[in-house]
């Protein structure tokens, strides 16, 4: 009960009385005054909110990717993903928040409000989201979603069945910690799970890659002889929340729409023969399905992954890029954000008089096996820095070049759980690897190849 003699004094969140003479100060939950928030427009007169989206015109993928003039902007990775989706003629998107993806999918919601994305809703959780994306893609429309870390794992059962159902959706994975103790920090261990689904997996180094890989992912995944989902991974926060320069085409153009009839498997719109889809196309027959039907179907999925190579070469300019590899004393092989650290390590090595090359892997599935064998034939030392504990990239590289290169391969340095990767750590491994000095950051068991004691590396080799 308030005392009638003492009138209620209104206070701000800090407890200071608010004088009625001054206008009430709006504050955020932390108590900071809000000064710059723009008023939310309701209704907004007679202007059609979809006006700009309706005026977008369709251009060919070739024009979009190679000819259209681009303008440079300084934006976050989330904004780069939004701008990619704006130009990708996306029909359907389902969102569920998880750090560090949330901003991306709420920006896709903004695109829905503006009419650039035709259908959108906030799903119940990632299992439901990935299942709804499967439903949308089966209906024959172009689908996009994004998640991160625990969300990727929660949605992994439906995600892992997308390739078998031949659903060419694009999903973005803004990688973060998965394992306990739980954290939201960058760590790309979730990529190791995605590598074995039968989907195409790209790893974006920066905001520009994210922008390009998402758009190209739709075109590559929807090729008739591919018809597969595409995962575009990036390292959370480093890419999603940081700003960088991104060269982008004008907003007024978009990719051609998905042509559902073009897929390798008929979509479920009751328009396509065979009439008995689930019986005649041998998907998910379970008890009735001969083991060889599942076997040949999975073989075909992975064959489709292989066939995507030429489209990745065509639209992305190759599965990897090689910088200064010819004649280098050592080569750093990296993907994602580790490439940026590695590029700086190459520069520091040069200052020390060491000639070091860099291979940036853009496509993890399909994996550039032949390219690596060729590039690493004469290399003496390969260093593979990663933002995870399990060294999934080093295992793939080692398996690819085994028998084709005599290089000593150092699976490290590794950082995880949100640690940053000091460039000096990479330089130390290059110098130590070349001089034979023992590393304090990388155990013997993570080193293999020439001049290595087999007993020391047994642990790592068993994990390949």
């Amino acid at each position: 009960m308030s005392n009638p003699l003492e009138p209620d004094v209104k206070t701000n969140p800090q407890g200071d009385p608010i004088s009625t003479l001054e206008p009430e100060q709006k504050t955020n939950p932390q108590g900071d005054p809000i000064t710059s928030a723009a008023p939310i427009k309701v209704g907004g007169g007679s202007k059609d909110p979809h006006e700009a989206a309706k005026k977008q015109r369709v251009v060919t993928p070739e024009y979009m990717f190679f000819e259209a003039p681009r303008k440079r902007e300084f934006i976050t990775g989330s904004e780069a993903a939004k701008e990619a989706v704006r130009r990708s003629n996306v029909d359907f998107s389902v969102a569920y928040p998880i750090t560090p993806q949330s901003e991306t999918m709420q920006l896709i919601g903004v695109l829905y409000g503006e009419g650039y994305v035709k259908e959108y809703y906030r799903g119940e959780e990632e299992y439901g989201v990935m299942s709804a994306i499967a439903g949308g893609s089966r209906a024959g429309v172009r689908c996009f979603t994004a998640t991160a870390g625990p969300g990727t794992l929660r949605g992994l059962e439906p995600i892992a069945s997308w390739p078998g159902h031949r659903l060419p959706a694009v999903a973005m994975f803004t990688c973060r910690v998965v394992n306990a103790p739980l954290a939201i920090q960058p760590d790309n261990i979730e990529v190791s799970y995605l590598l074995n689904c039968g989907m195409i997996v790209f790893h974006a180094e920066n905001q520009q890659d994210l922008f390009d890989f998402i758009m190209k992912g739709f075109i590559i995944g929807e090729q008739n002889d591919v018809t597969l989902p595409v995962g575009v991974a990036c390292d959370g926060f480093f890419v999603t929340h940081a700003r960088n320069y991104v060269d982008m085409q004008e907003k007024g153009i978009k990719l051609p729409p998905r042509q559902a009839w073009k897929g390798a498997v008929p979509v479920l719109d009751a328009e396509n023969p065979p009439a008995r889809l689930s019986r005649d196309a041998p998907v998910q027959k379970s008890n009735f399905m001969a083991y060889n039907i599942h076997a040949v179907w999975q073989q075909e999925v992975w064959a489709a992954v292989e066939r995507s190579r030429r489209y990745i070469d065509k639209y992305m300019g190759g599965m990897l890029t090689a910088e200064n590899v010819e004649g280098a004393e050592a080569v750093i092989v990296a993907s994602g954000s580790a490439c940026a650290q590695s590029r700086e390590a190459v520069r520091l090595c040069k200052e020390q008089g060491l000639n070091v090359g860099l291979i940036k892997i853009r496509s993890l599935r399909p994996f550039p096996t032949a390219e690596l064998r060729k590039l690493l034939t004469k290399t003496k030392l390969v260093v593979i820095p990663e933002f995870n504990y399990v060294a999934w990239l080093a295992k793939d590289v080692a398996a690819a070049v085994y028998g084709y290169s005599n290089a000593k391969i150092i699976a490290g340095p590794h950082v995880y759980g949100g640690m940053s990767m000091p460039v000096e750590m990479i330089v130390d491994e290059v110098v130590g690897g070349l001089t034979g000095k023992k590393s304090i950051a990388v155990p013997d068991s993570a080193i293999m190849g020439r001049d290595v004691n087999q007993a020391d590396v047994a642990h790592f080799m068993q994990n390949i």
């Binding site: 209906a139 009751a270 009439a275």
Partner: protein
């Protein structure tokens, strides 16, 4: 496959799959068929591997005859006995992951709406009690809360039949089953109540021993889901194997369960009534003309 969108040039129709031609020439595609005509036309579901005396199979057959536009209907299901029959039908069936059916149907129905606008493309979920009330519970409820426009049909045999007879959320309290060695310790889940609470526009409980009633509720549910909102049908489809019901007593059992926990119940919102009355001419929902005023 749709009859309206694809017209075959004369002579080319014979290159269509035989199942499709049979559905057009001797089956329900493009014409009205009713359960009372059973035996006189080629059914959408003819062959199946279900157990002898399976009430679920009878219900699925009846439900498929009742679809208002079978040639434009897509069914969605999940693991369980039902999908062993549904996947043999002559209409497309999505068999996705465990319990995902209502989420897949959400994406599918929205995607079809984007591509085909108001042309009816009916999405019908048919899944078991375990798939719907247990593993897929959250996706089922959320699809109703979101007012997704498709029909959900629960094939409730009160047990995990396909995995060999384990307790489900829809099992009755006290029932001894595998994984319930001392009897189930909580009541049968009230999914009908939850369907109403979550905003379904039409909810009905039904047993398969009354074919005309099955036909009536399925037709209403599919039509209402086109434009008004989500619809839910909960059907008692006994498992004569796990509950040891002699095959010749399956209909008797259904009859007695109908008198017990599966009394016919139909819930329909006013919006749905008006829609059926105005759009499809359902006389029972049409407003009765006001009685003439008595002469003064």
């Amino acid at each position: 496959m749709s009859l309206d969108y694809v017209k075959f040039s004369p002579g080319f129709d014979r290159f269509m799959p035989k199942e499709y031609r049979d559905m057009v020439n001797h089956g329900p595609f493009g014409k009205k068929t009713t359960v009372s005509q059973m035996g006189s036309f080629k059914e959408i579901l003819e062959e199946h591997p279900m157990c002898a005396g399976c009430a679920m199979t009878l219900f699925i057959r009846l439900a498929m005859i009742s679809f208002p536009n079978p040639e434009d209907t897509i069914t969605v299901g999940t693991a369980g006995c039902g999908r062993l029959a549904i996947s043999q039908a002559a209409i497309p069936f999505v068999y996705g992951n465990y319990g995902d059916q209502n989420a897949v149907a959400s994406g599918l129905s929205r995607g079809l709406k984007l591509r085909f606008g108001d042309k009816p493309k009916d999405v019908v979920v048919m899944a078991g009690d375990g798939g719907m009330a247990d593993i897929g519970f959250s996706m089922t409820l959320h699809s109703w809360f979101r007012k997704e426009r498709f029909t959900t049909i629960m094939l409730d045999n009160e047990v995990y039949g396909n995995t060999g007879g384990q307790e489900s959320g829809m099992t009755n309290k006290g029932q001894v089953l595998k994984m319930a060695p001392l009897g189930k310790k909580f009541e049968k889940m009230d999914m009908v109540g939850m369907a109403k609470l979550a905003g379904c526009a039409y909810v009905a409980t039904v047993v398969p021993n009354n074919p005309r009633r099955v036909e009536s509720v399925i037709k209403k549910a599919v039509l209402i889901a086109r434009e008004v909102g989500p619809t839910y049908i909960q059907a008692y489809t006994s498992c004569n194997i796990e509950y040891s019901i002699p095959t010749d007593k399956v209909m008797e059992d259904a009859n007695s369960v109908e008198g017990d926990r599966y009394k016919f119940e139909e819930y329909i919102t006013d919006d749905a009534k008006n829609y059926l009355a105005n759009r499809y001419g359902y006389k029972i929902y049409q407003e009765k003309p006001a009685a003439a005023l008595p002469k003064a």
